[in-house]
Structures are given as structure tokens and as C-alpha cells.
């Protein structure tokens, strides 16, 4: 092997270019070839060719255009080689249908990535498949990485991706950004996938902590990509929400891995840069006047982030934001969160009334956090029996180990409080 330092250096450069450009090249190859699998194969072939040629011959002026046209050529070559098994005119037809490679400054390229995002998040695919396909095709994660992060057996995950790709091909799910009238609805599906990816990384129940943080980082990267390609206030709001939640990551768990509640977190551990960006983005989204539930949740997260200490939180503003959120996107969980904010603004007794009203709908009966919230309020109001009962119900429903430990600790505290004997 060559030990030429120039060649070794170029090897590193090839890999850096690959990391920066491969997803864009894939997006364009999918458009040209009209087939996910063919495009992936062509991408790998193009990379092999780059590794073989660039270190010796130098890096081309426009590496991305080089990779696209090489990938296109390799795909045509592959179709020809397989021609031995198919009729010739069919092959000629297939090759003729492939458009010419775009020029270096082709404007369609940023669009190709947006097309890829919308295709992978098409509502005709199952939600699981959308998530898996987006991480695989848009983010470039391997099937192994995705399976590990979502705790799905690899064959299951691989099947999901194969089936989704087959449906895209067979049912002809279009590779395009939807037209204006369908865009809003389809953007919702895209935002939902991104947030689902983020949450999997942010509040997952188990798995390797490192992998999970990576998944959240991917979601944030996807959010940035989406805004770069399609500036939409609600996409802006979602990115703000993810940044603000992620800014608290380090403070959310104690040294022993136990969950630390927002009020008890060491705020000096919060990521200031992420907070600043999140607050700026949420303000921009709010100013547009065309925002939705993600922006409102981000606004609530921003109010928390801006309080120097828990006691200084602007609860009236948070209750106000929850009022709007409840109108825009009514759900029992939003009603519960609003009830907790009311407790902070108006006192525990008022909060308990609001929590009980949220629970009265019946939809929260199996939601452990609803019972935990009720328990906390009862405990603070000195209604120890009711508090214990609610903590027990929450514990019976909680599945996440950290949350279970937290609830067990609260029950133990109730039992050991000084006036426990009198209860």
C-alpha cells in the first residue's frame, strides 16, 4: 500500500466530503433513478470510485456533481450488466427514462432533499416506517443504529424499511414536495416524525444513553434542514421546542441516574447557547402569527428557560399559553399540564380542583403522571391518605425505571414524615 502522506491526507479528505455530501447525493440519485435501492447501490459505487480515484488524481472541483454523475453512470452500467436476464428493449427503455445528471449549480438539488423528507414521511406509510425510513435515508443512520435506538430487533426494523420502500415503488408514492393545498397537512406528518425521533432520544425508557442522545441530535439536525429548505413558522417552533428541551438534558438526571424535576434542576447546567437560539426562534415563530401547537409548547419551555430560578417562573404567562394551547390542540394531557400550572399560580387547592377536572374526563385514568400530579398536590395540602393512594396508582402505571424510583421515594417520604404516626 502507498504510504505517500499526500495520498493518506487525501483519503481523509474523501471521507470528510463523503460525510458532508452523501445524503444530498443520495437525494438527487433517487430523483434521477426513481428507485431507493438502485440509488443506494449507486451511491456506494460512487463512493468506492471516489476512494479509488481521488487520492491519486486529486479531488474534483465539484465533488458533489462528480458523485452524482458517477453514481448515475454506475447505475446505468449495472442495469446493462443485468441485461443478460431481461429483454433488450426493456433495458433501453429503462435507461432512457433516467434523466441527465444535473449541472453543478442545479437548483433542483436542495429540493431533492426536501422531496426525500416528504417522501419518507408520506402519510400512506405507517408511522413506524416513516420514522425508520427518515432516519435511514435522510439522516444516513444504519439499520443497526436505528434498531438499537428504538429497541426493535434488527430483522423487524429491516423488514419495515424494505416494506416501506416497496410501497413507495409499487404504489408510486411521489418523490416530490406536495402542492400548496396539501402541504400543510403533509408538513404536519413531517413535523410529527421529527418530534417522535426527538422524543425517542430525549425521554426513552431504556437503551444506551449515548445512542439516545445521538437520536435527539439527529432530530435537531433534521429540524434545521427542514427550516433551511422550507421556512415555516411551525417548523421553526418545533426546532425551538427541541432545542429548549434538549438544553436541560444534563440537568435532568442526578449523579445516581435518578430523575431530577424541573423545579429542582441545577440551572447552571442548562445549555445557554441552545436556550438563546430556542428563545430567538420561538419569538420569530410567534411574530409570524401563523403558528401551532409546537410553537406554543416551545413558548412555554422558553418561559421556564428564562427564569433564573424555579421560584421566579412566570406562572401567569404559562397558564395563559396553556389556555391558547388548549384551544389550538385540545388534549387531556394539555389540560393536565395547565392544571399543574394553575396550582403554581393560584395555589395547591385551586390546582387540585383543576387536576380533578382534567381526570374527570376518564381519558387520563391510565396516565401515571396524572395520578402523580394529584398525589403531589394532596401531599402539599396535607391530605396524606389521598396522596398515598394516588402515588400507589401512579406507581402501578409507571413503566420507566427512573420514574418508578422517584415515586417509591415519595411514598417512603410520606411514611417517614414526622407526623406519620398521627395519620
Amino acid at each position: 500500500m502507498s504510504a505517500d502522506p499526500q495520498v493518506t491526507k487525501r483519503h481523509g479528505e474523501v471521507e470528510a466530503i463523503w460525510r458532508a455530501e452523501s445524503r444530498r447525493v443520495l437525494a438527487t440519485l433517487i430523483r434521477l433513478l426513481g428507485d431507493f435501492d438502485l440509488a443506494e447501490e449507486a451511491l456506494q459505487d460512487a463512493f468506492q470510485a471516489a476512494l479509488a480515484q481521488w487520492p491519486q488524481e486529486g479531488i474534483p472541483a465539484n465533488p458533489r456533481a462528480w458523485l452524482v454523475s458517477t453514481g448515475r453512470f454506475k447505475a446505468i452500467d449495472g442495469i446493462r450488466r443485468r441485461a443478460r436476464f431481461t429483454a433488450w428493449d426493456e433495458v433501453a427503455e429503462q435507461i432512457e427514462a433516467i434523466p441527465a445528471a444535473p449541472g453543478p449549480e442545479d437548483e433542483a438539488i436542495p429540493d431533492d432533499r426536501l422531496r426525500l423528507v416528504f417522501t419518507c414521511c408520506h402519510p400512506a406509510l405507517s408511522l413506524d416506517a416513516r420514522v425508520a425510513l427518515t432516519l435511514r435515508e435522510v439522516c444516513g443512520l444504519t439499520s443497526e443504529e436505528i434498531a438499537r435506538a428504538f429497541l426493535v430487533p434488527l430483522p423487524t426494523l429491516a423488514q419495515r424499511i424494505v416494506r416501506a420502500k416497496a410501497k413507495i415503488r409499487v404504489a408510486r408514492i411521489p418523490y416530490e414536495v406536495p402542492e400548496r393545498d396539501a402541504l400543510a397537512q403533509r408538513l404536519d406528518a413531517v413535523l410529527r416524525v421529527i418530534y417522535l425521533v426527538f422524543n425517542e432520544g430525549y425521554s426513552a425508557s431504556s437503551g444506551e444513553a449515548l445512542t439516545r442522545a445521538d437520536i435527539s441530535a439527529e432530530a435537531i439536525r433534521l429540524g434545521r434542514l427542514l427550516i433551511e429548505l422550507l421556512p415555516d413558522p411551525e417548523a421553526q417552533g418545533l426546532l425551538a421546542l427541541m432545542l429548549l428541551q434538549d438544553s436541560r438534558r444534563v440537568a435532568r438526571t442526578g449523579a445516581d441516574g435518578a430523575l431530577v424535576l424541573l423545579a429542582d434542576q441545577d440551572r447552571s447546567l442548562w445549555n445557554r447557547a441552545q436556550i438563546e437560539e430556542g428563545v430567538a426562534r420561538v419569538s420569530e415563530a410567534l411574530r409570524s402569527g401563523r403558528f401551532g401547537a409546537y410553537t406554543l409548547q416551545a413558548a412555554i419551555a422558553a418561559v421556564h428557560a428564562e427564569a433564573p430560578e424555579a421560584a421566579a417562573t412566570d406562572w401567569p404567562q404559562i397558564v395563559g399559553l396553556y389556555d391558547v394551547l388548549l384551544r389550538v390542540d385540545p388534549s387531556p394531557v394539555v389540560a393536565l399540564n395547565r392544571a399543574v400550572a394553575i396550582a403554581m399560580r393560584d395555589g395547591d387547592a385551586a390546582g387540585l380542583v383543576a387536576v380533578d377536572a382534567a381526570l374527570a374526563g376518564g381519558e387520563l385514568a391510565q396516565y401515571h403522571l396524572a395520578h402523580a400530579a394529584r398525589a403531589d398536590l394532596c401531599r402539599r395540602l396535607g391530605r396524606r391518605g389521598e396522596a398515598r393512594e394516588a402515588y400507589e396508582r401512579a406507581l402501578g402505571l409507571a413503566k420507566q425505571e427512573q420514574e418508578r424510583r422517584f415515586l417509591q421515594a415519595r411514598i417512603a417520604e410520606l411514611d417517614h414524615a414526622p407526623d406519620a404516626a398521627a395519620d
Binding site: 408520506h122 400512506a124 409499487v170 404504489a171 408510486r172 411521489p174 416530490e176 406536495p178 396539501a182
Partner: protein, 116 residues
């Protein structure tokens, strides 16, 4: 690309509707077929008799045995079909959304694979 659009309706709900509502749906369906014929999306369509009129053949233990009723016992049953020609799934879905009969249930859109 051809797509078979299977229109599912809740027969119980549909038969409980006033006669003029059902008649209107029928007229609208015929008119919509005509629109699709003009735009070049139409292949063929028809309504089906009630699922209560259905007989299903099931292959069991090496032979077919007929049973009374539809293939799947669900609230909604196939009531009609329209075969359309569309450029991709999104176009097919946009067309299928407007089937008048689908307002009483839904539509399943399936790509047709040409054999041979």
C-alpha cells in the same frame, strides 16, 4: 398507473338514510364518473349489491367451501369500485377523496399490478 379504488360503506348507516339522500349520492357518483372520464382518469366502475348478497369461497383442507356472507365480517363492506388511471398515489388519493359514496365510510386505494 392503474389504481383500484374500493369504496367501503357502513351498510346499516347507509340504508337508514332518507331515500333522497341516497338518490343524490347515486346521481353525484355518476356525475363524478363523467368528470373522471373527461379528465382521462376513468377506467371502469360499478356498484355492488349488498354484502348480505355475498357468498365467499374459502380454501380449506384442500378444497373450496362456500359460505354465506362477505369475506370479512366488519361493519363496513365494499359497496362499489372505481378503477382509475393516475400518475402517482397522491393523484389517486386526491381523486378517491371525492367519491360521493365514500362519505359513508371510506376508500381503499390499491395499485393494480399488470400481470403478463
Amino acid at each position: 398507473m392503474k389504481y383500484m379504488c374500493l369504496i367501503y360503506i357502513d351498510e346499516e348507516l347507509y340504508s337508514a338514510l332518507p331515500a333522497e339522500t341516497r338518490k343524490r349520492c347515486e346521481i353525484e357518483s355518476i356525475a363524478y364518473d363523467e368528470t373522471l372520464r373527461k379528465s382521462g382518469h376513468y377506467c371502469t366502475s360499478d356498484a355492488l349489491a349488498s354484502a348480505r348478497m355475498a357468498t365467499s369461497l374459502r380454501h380449506e383442507n384442500g378444497r373450496f367451501s362456500p359460505t354465506d356472507g362477505p369475506y370479512a365480517e366488519t361493519k363496513e363492506q365494499v359497496a362499489g369500485f372505481v378503477m382509475i388511471d393516475a400518475k402517482d398515489l397522491d393523484e389517486a388519493l386526491r381523486i378517491a377523496e371525492k367519491f360521493p359514496g365514500a362519505r359513508f365510510g371510506g376508500v381503499e386505494v390499491r395499485p393494480v399490478i399488470q400481470i403478463g
